[in-house]
Structures are given as C-alpha cells and as structure tokens.
C-alpha cells in the first residue's frame, strides 16, 4: 500500500520536474508573470508532496527555490541568465533525488550545499544591489501574501483533494497546533502521544514538520497537524489534555474552500478514492523505505479507451454464452459465431494497442532543455522546432527512443550547426535550427531530426575511415555516398578531430543504430552540403504484434519478421556457387550470400538429395542475404513474447510466439543472423 502511495508521488513529482524545466526555459525567452506563477506552483506543490512523504532534502531544496521565486514574484529581484541557470541546476538535483527515491525508496545523501548557497546568495543581500543595475526583465505586480497565520494552510493540491473528499463525507477537518512546554525533554515522545491519541479519532493527513522530522526531534516547541475525524473540537481538547507537558493546543476548523493551494493541472486524473485510501497508509510512509521494492511502470490511459476495452470484453462474454448454447452441429450458426469472435478479437487487439499508445510529447518535452544546455556549452545559437509531438507510439518504444534521439540532437548541435560567426559568413541566419518532427506513415512512425548546418563532410568521413583502416584505398575509390554514410554508423567511428564533452568520443551513431534496430526500426541519413543534415528514423507502431513468415527448418518451426524479408525464391542446387568459401547465388545480377539455417541453428538435416533450395531473401540495411530453409509454411500475424531474463542473450533469437495449437515457435533475429 505504501508502494502505491509512493508511485503516485513519483509520477506527480516527475511531472512537476518536467513542468519546471519547461517553464524555466519559457521564462528565459519570454518572461511573464504567469510563467513565474507556474514555476512557483510546481515548486510549491513539490515541496508539499515531499514534506508529506518525509523527504527532507527535497523539501529543503524546494523551499529555498520557493524563497527565490517568491522574491522574483514580488519583484524584489529580476530574472537573468544566472538565476535561470541556478534554478535549472536545482531542477537537475531534484531530478536526481527523485530518481534515488524511485530506485531505492528513500533519499540518498546528496550535496546540496553549493546550490543552496547559490540560491540564498541570489535571494539574499548580495544580490539586491545587482538587481537595480540590471534591468528587471519581468514586470511583476503582485503583493506578497502574508504567511504563517493559522488560517493560512500550507497544503498542496494532493492534500486538498483529501480534505474535500472528507468534507463531502461530512467529516471535520481540524488543524491542530500543539505547543510543548519549553523545558520539555522528550519532545518526540510527547508528540508521539499526541499522535497516538488523535489517531484513535481519525486520520492525520499532514504534519508540519514532517513525521520523520518529528520523530527525529527536528522541531522547535511546536508542531501542526491536520486531522480528519468525526469528533468535535471539545473531544480533541479533552483527549489531548491527558498528555502532559503540553503548553498550548490550538484547534481550528479547516474549510476546503478557503485553502490556497498550488493549482496545478497535474494529477487531476487521479482517482480521489485512491488518495483517501492512501490515508490509511499515511503513518507508515516513513517506514516504507525499509522494505521497498522497485516501483512498477505505470501508464495513464484515457478513460474512453478503457471503456472501449470494457465493451469489447463484455461482447466476448456474450459470445462465450452463445458458444455454450450451440448444441447441435449447426454449421451455419457455428461459422457465424466464429466470425463474430474473430471480429471482436481483432477489435480487442486494436483497443489494447491503443491503450498502450503514448504521445511522443513525453520524450520531446525533455529536448528544449537539452538544446538550451548544448547551446550554452558550445556557444552556438540554436533554436529547436518541434512538430508532431502528439504522434502516438507504443509505450515500450517511447521508453527506449529518448537516448538515441538525444544523441542525434547532440550530434546536430555539435557537428551540424556552425558557430554564429561562421553562419553569418555563409549568409545564413545567426541562429541555427534543429527540427524535430514526428508523424505517422502507415504502420510506421517517422521521427526526423534535421538541422540547417553544414551537412556531412564525406571526404572527412572517408579520410577518417582510411586512417583507422576501416577501408582500403582501393575500396575507398568505389564507395558510393550511402556507403560512406554507413561508415559513420560503425562502432568507434568519430569525425570530430577533437573530443568534446558533447560528442566525438566514438561511441555514437553505432549505438543509435543498434538501439533503433533492436526496436525493429531503421535509420536513414540524407544531407545537402551547407544546407543541413536529416536523420530519419522509422519505427513500427507497436512492438507487440507483427506479421511474420513461418518457415520450417529441420523439424522445427521458426518465424521471420515480414518487415525484413525482400522475397522468397526457389533455386536449383546447381545455381549455388562458392566465393571465398561462402555459398552464394546470383539473383538478377546481384551476388547474394547464403546462410543455411539448419547449420546456424543446429537442427537436424533433412533429405540432402533435394533438387531445389528454398531461400528467404532478407535485408539488413543495404545488404541482402538468402536464408536456406526446408519449407515455407505461410504468413501469419504473431504476438511477440520475450524469452525472459533467464534466456536474455540467446544469439539469433529475438523472441518467441505461441502458435494456434499452443506450440511455441521462436522468432529469428535477422540482424544477428546475417
């Protein structure tokens, strides 16, 4: 149950981090009051959530950020590059902290000193002078809200929802401020007694400071807690009067309508019931860390899509009863029912696939920040234009595609786009543009990363390849352009003569290519000298279900993904020739090497005396290879299943699928086989 609570926290926290990044970048380009407010809200909500969960470092850092932001809001200081950078730095650290929580269930000690100092420095005295000198970019006119009165509730939206829910149920919400006597020795013990007494009445939803801090005696003489209960104020006072060493107890009713909360659109889809349920586990949260397991992957699904699924499932149930009712062997009814069933299963398949689809926005959102950082590092001026962020892709692909894309963007920024001086000399606009575009094309999604930089220096690539002995001089003469480009995708290749932080370490495009291929996609490169380079990534819409050709090898069945098949041919044995000890055939003027699957897969050899050889011609990039099989079974739609962790690295096998008769057939990994 704690886990569930933590999942919600993580999900929301990540969204706020994303928001912070997004709005901070907007603030830099286009400062306005609303954006500052947005940032403030996100930071504030994050602070509240962290406090509730007892994550002190997160709390401290967001608190400092809030102070700085408050000063910006109240126009005490203006926005400049340094402030934005400091805040971005903070967001990075927040992200790391949240990542730690996700991995281990608790915060890891991180050094906050430096950025805290930076934050304080800017919000403090030394900064104010500077403010007058540099013109404030932000026009802010809003009075600072007074704080720290008992009527003002430092609640986030999360907690507010719980309170509203409670009020709807006719419960009281009390804010209780407990002050201990000055000479109180066992402060946490007294606090514990207060908690214990109150817990019998209802649920404590929030404490200030956090439960952890109270347990660790990290508070002065007073603490505040929010209690949801059916009991009256008097009952509470009476219950607490039995605890000694209490100096004062203030009980105030909380009206949800008066709560000033950080209003953020995240989390709205959350089920309020879930929040209330999480109340139950509230007290144990701080202990959750001990028996923590890595959080599960979650996915937000449009309720409409789920409804659709539900409908289809109820249709399945109807058809089940219909099947049960077929008593005699009425062929007509039977066939109709099976047809009906077929229609439902294919609709069901569609619906489930749709439920797994996520807009690529989730990945693209990180990139403005990446480009911002890159342009600083490289002292180049770069604009990022994003198109088609609403294009949807399978969740699995979304999770994997981020890193390759970052790599391509870095590449474009580092190798593609020229320095501002160089650009002006060439008569180009000072600002370079990186274009990120996604769109659907049939059963594929295309993602393009293009820049308007200098293009690819083919001679440079070739020179590098010669230098590293990748190609010989004779070979080099005959290489076509696309072959030279493909050299860039080989392991350890880098055109950059100097190694920068950003790229050029030689672990680059080959990794991108491998990753994309492992997702069942492909990548193409085009460029025009001095006009720019485009990397086009083609990805399948979903990984779960593919069209495949079933073949037999020995007595076994294997599936070959249709997407990598060019054609199938049957050749007479005497057409097979041997070149450099490898078997090849000539097909329409092309030499195609042959791989005998029964040898590669160690299956039994069937009749050697056959006259013909059945070949499945598969492609890997520009290369064609013929796979010799014993028989073709037919084309089939198959569901890809993983072999699991235990058999993770089996050569040649990409996965398995279950055939109609319940048998398991393995799917060949063409990239490894060829």
């Amino acid at each position: 149950m704690n886990n569930q609570y933590l999942d919600v926290f993580l999900e929301e926290a990540k969204e706020h981090i994303e928001n912070l990044n997004k709005f901070l970048l907007q603030l830099e380009n286009n400062p306005s009051q609303e954006i500052v407010d947005e940032i403030f809200r996100s930071a504030h909500t994050l602070k509240g959530m962290s406090g509730t969960m007892g994550f002190t470092q997160l709390l401290e850092l967001t608190h400092e950020m809030e102070n700085l932001l408050q000063d910006i809001r109240s126009k005490k200081i203006g926005v400049n590059e340094r402030i934005i950078d400091t805040l971005l730095k903070c967001v990075d650290i927040l992200e790391e902290l949240i990542h730690d929580v996700e991995e281990t269930g608790q915060e890891q000690e991180r050094d906050l000193q430096l950025v805290m100092q930076m934050l304080k420095d800017k919000s403090g005295e030394s900064f104010k002078g500077q403010m007058d000198a540099s013109q404030s970019k932000v026009e802010i006119a809003e009075e600072k809200k007074e704080k720290d009165s008992l009527d003002l509730h430092n609640l986030n939206e999360y907690e507010e929802r719980i309170i509203r829910k409670a009020k709807d149920q006719g419960l009281y919400i009390w804010k209780i401020k407990v002050t201990l006597v000055d000479e109180c020795l066992l402060k946490s013990a007294r606090a514990f007694l207060v908690f214990k007494n109150l817990e019998t009445f209802g649920d404590i939803i929030k404490t200030e400071p956090s439960v952890q801090d109270i347990e660790d005696e990290k508070f002065d003489n007073e603490f505040t807690l929010y209690l949801i209960t059916s009991k009256s104020k008097d009952d509470i006072s009476r219950a607490l009067s039995s605890v000694s060493e209490l100096k004062n107890v203030d009980v105030v009713n909380v009206d949800p309508d008066s709560i000033v909360v950080s209003n953020d659109d995240s989390g709205k889809e959350l089920d309020p019931i879930e929040s209330v349920r999480s109340l139950e586990s509230k007290q144990q949260n701080t202990k959750a860390a001990n028996n923590f397991k890595k959080t599960t992957k979650t996915l937000r699904v449009d309720i409409e899509r789920l409804d659709n699924l539900m409908n289809l499932v109820s249709e399945l149930i109807i058809i089940k009863t219909r099947l049960e009712d077929i008593k005699d062997n009425n062929y007509q009814t039977q066939r109709e029912t099976v047809e009906y069933l077929e229609r439902i299963t294919s609709n069901l398949h569609d619906a489930v696939m749709k439920a797994r689809m996520v807009p690529i926005e989730n990945v693209f959102n990180r990139f403005p920040r990446v480009v911002h950082d890159l342009s600083r590092e490289l002292s180049k001026k770069i604009n990022l234009v994003i198109e088609g962020a609403e294009t949807e892709l399978d969740r699995t692909v979304i999770d994997e595609i981020g890193d390759p894309l970052i790599h391509l963007i870095r590449n474009a920024a580092d190798h593609g786009i020229e320095s501002p001086q160089e650009r002006i000399k060439k008569g180009k606009p000072e600002y370079g543009t990186i274009n990120l575009k996604a769109y659907q094309d049939g059963n594929n999604v295309i993602i393009e990363v293009s820049d308007d930089g200098k293009g690819i220096d083919l001679n440079g690539v070739l020179a590098k390849a010669l230098e590293s002995g990748r190609v010989s001089k004779e070979q080099a003469k005959n290489l076509k352009d696309y072959e030279i480009i493909s050299l860039m995708f080989e392991p350890g290749f880098s055109t950059s003569s100097k190694v920068t932080d950003i790229s050029g370490r030689g672990v680059g495009l080959d990794v991108v290519k491998t990753k994309i291929e492992s997702l069942g996609g492909s990548i193409e490169t085009t460029f025009v000298k001095d006009k720019g380079t485009t990397f086009q990534i083609r990805l399948p819409l979903t990984l779960a279900i593919i069209q495949a050709l079933m073949v037999s090898v020995g007595n076994e069945k294997y599936a070959i993904p249709l997407s990598s098949i060019r054609e199938t041919v049957i050749v007479a044995k005497d057409q097979i020739k041997t070149v450099q000890k490898r078997e090849v055939i000539m097909l329409r003027g092309n030499v195609i090497p042959i791989v005998r699957l029964n040898e590669a897969l160690d299956t039994e050899k069937l009749d050697e005396h056959q006259e013909d050889l059945t070949l499945v011609i598969v492609k890997k990039g520009e290369k064609n290879v013929g796979l010799a099989v014993d028989g073709l079974i037919g084309q089939q739609e198959i569901v890809i299943k993983s072999l699991g962790k235990f058999l993770n690295d089996i050569k040649f096998i990409a996965g398995a699928t279950i055939l109609g008769n319940g048998e398991v057939a393995l799917i060949l990994d063409i990239n490894k086989l060829v």
């Binding site: 235990f646 089996i650 048998e663």
Partner: protein, 151 residues
C-alpha cells in the same frame, strides 16, 4: 504456524530426494511439449507455453551432470520464480510438501550428494530420510549460466 517452520516441495532426481522452498514454487506441471532453443546453454531444454507465458525449462539432471533419464508418467516440471526470473525445472517426480523447523535444517556438508554444495541451502532431517535443500537463486544466477555456457 510458528515462524521457524518452513515448507518445502519434495522431489526426486535419481535416488536422491531434494527440497525447494515452497515460497519459490509457482506451480508444478506435467511434462508438456518443449520447443528447443538453439545456442542456449546445454542444460536448457527449451521453452514451454505456460498458459500464454513463455517459460524457459532446464533439465536439472543435465544441470548437475547426472545421467539422463527417460521421461515417465511421473516426470514433472516445477515452475520456480526468483526475483523476476521464472524457470521450469524438469525433475523425475514431485512427491509431497513437507514441513521442516529451522532446527532440523543443517548446513550442507561438502559432499552430501551428487551435486555441487554451492547450490545447496542445507540438509533437512526428516524421519528416516534426508532432504537436500536447493538454493534456487544460486541455481538461476545469470553469470553462473554465462560461465557454464562458455565451457
């Protein structure tokens, strides 16, 4: 049940009786068609379709270098699950579930059985017989498998 009582699924390999902690056992299945996986380690018999899930199956006899045995009526596949890894293990027969108190479990002496004591959790004493307790985690550890695959 008292805290120090553990339950074990008892099974046979040849003449010897073994036990696996019941908490690691998902189900016990009868023998079913197994699809061979090429290039897999020798003791990996293949994969099965366990109600829609692909589960690798290892032959425990091969895993411990015991002589191969015929599949019989009694042959079973014990499906075990440790961390995220689910694997089926072919055994000669699965007999019963036994309870052992912590006191009845002793560390495995170096030479107890035909298998390497690295894979043992200990030996359980039952009336009239000894139960060799397998450490499934060690048995399934990936690096172990890699090493074995290279030999």
């Amino acid at each position: 049940m008292a805290d120090n009582i553990r339950q074990f699924v008892e099974f046979k390999l040849g003449q010897e009786e073994y036990g696996i902690d019941i908490l690691q056992v998902k189900t016990i299945e009868r023998m079913m068609p197994i699809t061979r996986v090429p290039k897999a380690p020798k003791f990996v018999e293949g994969v099965i379709n366990l109600r829609g899930e692909i589960v690798p199956v290892i032959d425990l006899r091969k895993r411990f270098d015991l002589p191969a045995a015929e599949t019989t009526e009694n042959t079973r596949i014990i499906i075990v699950s440790v961390d995220d890894i689910t694997v089926g293990m072919i055994v000669d027969s699965a007999t019963e579930v036994v309870q052992l108190s912590q006191e009845a479990i002793e560390p495995a002496p170096p030479i107890t059985s035909s298998i390497d004591s690295d894979y043992l959790d200990g030996v359980g004493k039952l009336e009239g017989k000894l139960l060799i307790l397998l450490n499934v985690e060690k048995l399934l550890k990936p690096q172990e498998i890699d090493e074995l695959a290279q030999i």
